[in-house]
């Protein structure tokens, strides 16, 4: 009976020791990485926008730019298909452009021209290209940051 008890505790000690032995090198560095802050309201979204586009305080600056677009109309956001950073950037643009209606379209370099051509201009306030090259024939292209281009279709009344 006593032997069984010893075996029982030996088994669990071995399991827990192995568990901690393997975990510690993963958990330890994860705890040490990064620093606290900045203590800002839009800390998360600004960090992502800065990393993906180089735009500082993007959560404020990007909506400010979108305010110059026509009040009505959808913002069409093109993202590169099968490209996680591009899709994530497109979603971030969708996030900060609230309450404007958005439409996210996954496209490739080969299909983007056709996708743009198929859209009825009357329903659109602007196009945003996230890590996708905009068609050359589109005019008034505004580079907002690296990997992000805005093409206004309608503009807000002065």
């Amino acid at each position: 009976m006593r032997l069984r008890l010893y075996l029982h505790f030996a088994l669990w000690c071995a399991l827990f020791a192995a568990f901690v032995w393997i975990s510690a090198p993963i958990v330890g560095p994860a705890i040490m990485e990064n620093r606290v802050g900045p203590i800002e309201a839009n800390a998360s979204i600004d960090t992502y926008l800065r990393a993906l586009t180089g735009i500082e305080h993007g959560s404020e600056r990007i909506p400010d730019i979108f305010r110059h677009l026509g009040k009505e109309g959808v913002l069409v956001i093109f993202v590169r298909d099968e490209n996680a950073p591009s899709e994530f950037l497109g979603m971030l643009i969708g996030y900060v452009s609230w309450p404007r209606e958005v439409r996210v379209i996954k496209a490739t370099e080969a299909t983007v021209e056709k996708e743009v051509a198929d859209i009825k201009p009357g329903s659109v306030a602007g196009f945003v290209f996230c890590s996708v090259d905009s068609p050359n024939w589109l005019e008034k292209r505004v580079r907002l940051g690296s990997d992000i281009i805005l093409v206004p279709v309608t503009e807000a009344a002065p």
Binding site: H8, L15, A18, V20, I31, E40, N42, S44, W98
Partner: protein, 453 residues
């Protein structure tokens, strides 16, 4: 002012939860402070988010905030009066020897470290774009999510159909802080971790009769990389850890109810299980697993009627939320097809790949170390014990994993394997604290000494 608002929001959450906890626990005569603190946070977040959702159908802005605050305070007063009437007193279980002091100290230190660490990271992809986004949009609209959000095809990426338990807890903080502050909103996640660690210590101690075992298990909890270091842990603001805490509490109090036949424990189970589908859609699967296991337990103990009544709150939350989504014409989710037998037969060929991915994930040391190996040993121990209570606990670990695995039979993604690979690590997190409970019970073999805890 922001920090003052933050503390007021947290205070009202805890007061509401404390009121409900005391109302339930007062008749026992003694209220365990740790028990009470953990349940106060869990119930408080559930109550506040439900009140904001329901209240938001009738009012918004300062009226909504005031109504929810008054209700929270009223619940606190009612709970306090119930405690006074029952002449109940608070008790704090103290460590009795050096081992317990050391382990208790480690658990508290780990909570402090994770509280600090969670402020070092930004919200993750889902934390920001599935959960916090709802809190922000509601804040910008006076505390109510605009109906247009639910039906917006362009924002379908943020899963408008997901329930509001965590987003509206964040919203409550925003309303009191006066701005949608992503940095401070993250404070709720380490608080859920703290509730998880302390509940784990308490439940293992109670069910095994060994406090050192409970404290040891709680001390080992943060060594699971998925909870601390991975992309879906508490530091990135995902709802999977909070959901897992509700599941742990529901499982623990269900087992404790069966052992003691104390109806107050069944009420706590009912409340915790009801909040599962309110935290995440997958909570319905966890709730269903608990219903199956609870029915089996209560049938063998001849307490089926009591148990059936306890399913009522969960059913109300599930039906209420589904009905609401229909009313607001939510944009249909496209991740899974409606389950049917014909589809199941059609996709039966996926089983091989699905279980292969599951086992690959379970053995992924970067996410789990050897946690699932330890859990498997515990499940074998529990099954070998041939005691119904322990079999049910083993079922509470295994059943959701099987259910979660099988849902990929209905995945509509072009690549169901990619769907599973990207989401199954998060789903396994839901069961992880309950698996620790199983490990704790398997570890302790001697006769329970429940009076100590």
């Amino acid at each position: 002012m922001i920090v003052l608002g933050l503390f007021t929001a947290l205070f009202t959450i805890v007061i509401a939860g404390l009121g409900v906890t005391m109302s339930i626990s007062a008749r026992a005569g003694r209220i365990n402070v740790i028990d009470c603190a953990c349940l106060s946070w869990l119930f408080g977040s559930g109550i506040v988010s439900l009140l904001l959702w329901i209240g938001g159908m009738f009012c918004s802005g300062a009226v909504l905030q005031s109504a929810v605050t008054i209700t929270c305070l009223a619940l606190g007063v009612l709970g306090w009066r119930a405690k006074q009437r029952a002449n109940a007193s608070f008790t704090l279980p103290r460590p009795t020897d050096v081992v317990e002091w050391v382990l208790g100290g480690i658990v508290l230190a780990e909570i402090a470290v994770l509280l600090f660490v969670s402020f070092k990271h930004t919200l993750g992809w889902d934390g920001l774009l599935n959960w916090e986004i709802k809190a922000r949009y509601a804040f910008l609209n006076g505390g109510v999510i605009p109906v247009s959000y639910y039906s917006s095809a362009g924002r379908a990426f943020s899963h408008p159909e997901y329930p509001l338990g965590i987003p509206f807890t964040e919203l409550w903080l925003y309303l009191w802080m006066g701005e949608p502050h992503q940095f401070w909103a993250k404070i709720i996640f380490p608080l859920f971790y703290a509730a998880c660690a302390l509940l784990l210590a308490l439940l293992v101690s109670r069910l095994s009769g060994k406090r050192w075992a409970g404290l040891l298990i709680a001390a080992l909890l943060p060594f699971v990389p998925s909870i601390t270091a991975s992309l879906s842990g508490i530091v990135v603001g995902y709802v999977d850890v909070p959901l897992s805490v509700f599941y742990l509490a529901a499982v623990g109090y269900l087992l404790w109810w069966v052992r003691t036949n104390d109806s107050r424990l069944l009420m706590i189970f009912a409340a915790c299980s009801a909040l599962l589908p309110w935290i995440k859609s997958e909570g319905i699967i966890l709730w269903a697993a608990l219903v199956l296991l609870g029915l089996g337990l209560s049938f063998s103990k001849h307490r089926v009627a009591q148990f059936l009544i306890s399913m009522g709150p969960g059913l109300s939350v599930i039906v209420g939320w589904r009905l609401y989504l229909k009313l607001v014409h939510v944009w249909p989710s496209s991740d899974f097809a409606r389950p049917s037998l014909s589809l199941l037969r059609e996709n039966a060929g996926r089983l091989h790949d699905i279980f292969r991915i599951l086992f690959t994930e379970l053995s992924e040391t970067f996410h789990w170390s050897i946690f699932w190996l330890v859990a498997a040993v515990a499940v074998i121990y529990l099954i070998a014990s041939r005691k119904l209570e322990k079999l049910v606990l083993a079922g509470a670990v295994v059943l959701p994993v099987i259910f979660y695995t099988l849902i990929y039979m209905f995945s509509t993604w072009p690549s169901y394997t990619a769907h599973m690979t990207s989401s199954v690590p998060r789903l396994l997190l839901h069961v992880m604290p309950a698996a620790w409970l199983a490990i704790g019970l398997a570890l302790s073999q001697v006769k329970p000494q429940t009076e100590r805890v």
